[in-house]
Symmetry: C2
Subunit: 368 residues, 2 copies
């Protein structure tokens, strides 16, 4: 992979040249990982025209530095554990006679930015302006392969849960079990805290699991994702507990299923980002569910669980091929519960078979 | 508790008046919780001379807002889920004719600070300069009661683990089991990811659990903490696996135990922050362990797992009564392993019995 990382740093250098900066100071963990393979760890990265300096806390255990992943043309600078790696690189930028240094103003706090300005002698600071995030939007096939494995892990964990007895167990326990199963199947970790909502908690996007127990007749919504080699996916399914779902449950599930399918089918290179959202939203609105309106249908996903592009009603950019995104509409009826169905897919042209579905667990309304 | 929160906001108002600001915009989650009781949730808080405005994302499930905790004199301002609560309050500050607004420059990114400046019409921005963090250093007895419960939970989980079979189990599984047990005993969650290190991984402070299995003869270091009502503790213990520890293990454990005891015994109101560190460090250095030198012995703990005051060799401030701190020296011998022993204690004067130990699990070298 070190060739891929070196190529990414070259693209960053091209961006800097074009924007008048002679170096970039990268502090956002996902961006450092993207450019070096080094996992998040209080590191900071300085990319000048000629050199790459990676400042790493000196107290990391060997397993955590990802040292085997770091290419030979990257100079490592150990920094005492209590100090700020970005400040060490600010000083280095001064010594290396950098004149215009682009920094990540969306990541640095005002206080840290001020310290960098004070330490980087003779250096003018500019804004890197999400340049690395933009490089990260379109994934290469290595990255997509990691996302595919992350999705398989999440699907396996979910599949095993569906085979077990659920009635009487708490949301918290089910969430912890899913996390454990993902790690057993080889995940680095859960990509985000697993959400399990039962009964009136079902259908929510960010529900924090409680001690409520699963009961006969409940909707059960599970939102989970695995992280593999830094790459995460997200998926949500809603099931019903007991022999026979109520008519309102069947109807609501069918509605959200149709909206989610419409969103998925609208994914295509060249399509504006709001189009999948429009497709799903119009179906929910036609059925009278308008409270959903503030939430975008989905978003890009990769080294961060929520990254560019956003798929919201006002997002006007165009989708590219090889961009992984989530598509996850939901409806929640306060006091009763609801349905959420989410997949992670990769945008692909029709010649390649259209959108590639990564999270393949069935979306039928299973009665468990 | 709403009286306590109101009193805290009054102290913040006094600080603002004294520093020439007529309002404070608080964005750091732990600070918002301290001032309102509202748990972390993308909220932001504006405290003017006359009013308190709490901006909350409108898509929080009712359980997560802590609404029952929020006092009546706090005006709630719902903000659409995708928007930034701090920006909504910046606009409000302009409407309320705030002239000098103190913001948390150690929390806001440069980009967010710029957006606030653009939206807060006619408002001059200043730095709140960790004012709320300073208010948080000395705890009241309600806060200490919550810390005591958090410590009991961590002790219970650790005690149960010690009664189970450990040989053959992986660090990851033991860490997950400890997390689950803490939640079972009533923790909000683990205060930080549990660290379990066995064999050559033992004795490290920030070891991320791996698939290494516990073997006969290993040192086993566990670093864990529970969070209860927002308040966290931290504790570490090192045990040996099998019937009889090797002489080097007995010796190293005794050394770290002595250093940790010296650190604990040096805690007293009025003592300079570096004194407990000096006491522990001199014992480790006399035995030839100097590599430890960059790490402070401990730090304050409460709504954040690492907060003021720091107990490092260069920290010159004085300790106060009712300040909870960690005391946790360690020695790691690369390739062999090591020992870490950490407690959470509350600084108390001798008349009140001296430092109050919250994490009471035995510090003897148990052979498991």
């Amino acid at each position: 992979m070190s060739d891929a990382h070196a190529a990414r740093r070259e693209r960053l250098r091209e961006y800097c040249s074009a924007s008048g900066a002679d170096a970039a100071l990268v502090t956002r963990a996902a961006n450092i990982r993207y450019l070096t393979g080094c996992p998040p760890c209080g590191a900071a990265l300085l990319v000048t025209r000629e050199r790459t300096l990676l400042a790493l806390p000196d107290d990391l255990p060997p397993d955590d530095t990802g040292e085997h992943l770091i290419a030979e043309d990257v100079t490592q600078l150990p920094v005492a554990g209590e100090l700020d790696a970005a400040l060490a690189l600010a000083e280095a930028a001064g010594r290396l006679r950098v004149q215009d240094l682009a920094v990540e103003e969306h990541d640095l706090t005002v206080a840290r930015h001020r310290s960098i300005a004070a330490l980087a002698e003779g250096v003018r600071l500019a804004d890197l302006d999400h340049a690395v995030e933009r490089l990260r939007v379109v994934k290469d096939e290595h990255e997509i392969a990691d996302l595919r494995i992350a999705a398989e892990i999440a699907d396996q964990a979910l599949g095993e849960l569906l085979e077990s007895i659920l009635v009487g167990r708490t949301e918290r326990h089910l969430a912890m079990e899913l996390e454990r199963r993902m790690i057993d199947h080889g995940a680095d970790k859960a990509a985000f805290p697993v959400s399990v909502g039962t009964g009136s908690h079902s259908g929510l996007e960010h529900h924090q699991p409680t001690d409520r127990r699963v009961e006969e007749g409940d909707f059960l919504t599970v939102v989970l994702g695995a992280q593999y080699r830094g790459y995460g996916v997200s998926t949500a399914r809603t099931f019903v507990i007991g022999a026979a779902p109520a008519p309102w449950q069947v109807e609501l599930h069918r509605l959200v299923f149709r909206a989610q399918r419409a969103g998925r089918e609208a994914l295509s290179p060249g399509v504006e980002q709001h189009v999948p959202d429009d497709a799903a939203r119009s179906i929910l609105q036609a059925a009278g569910h308008t409270e959903h309106s503030v939430h975008p249908l989905g978003h890009g996903i990769g080294l961060e669980i929520r990254e560019a592009p956003r798929l919201g009603p006002a997002d006007m950019g165009k989708l590219d091929s090889r961009v992984p995104v989530t598509v996850g509409p939901g409806v929640h009826l306060p006091g009763r519960g609801g349905v959420r169905i989410e997949d992670t897919l990769v945008v692909r042209p029709l010649e390649e078979g259209g959108p590639e579905l990564l999270t393949i667990t069935t979306k039928e309304l299973l009665a468990l």
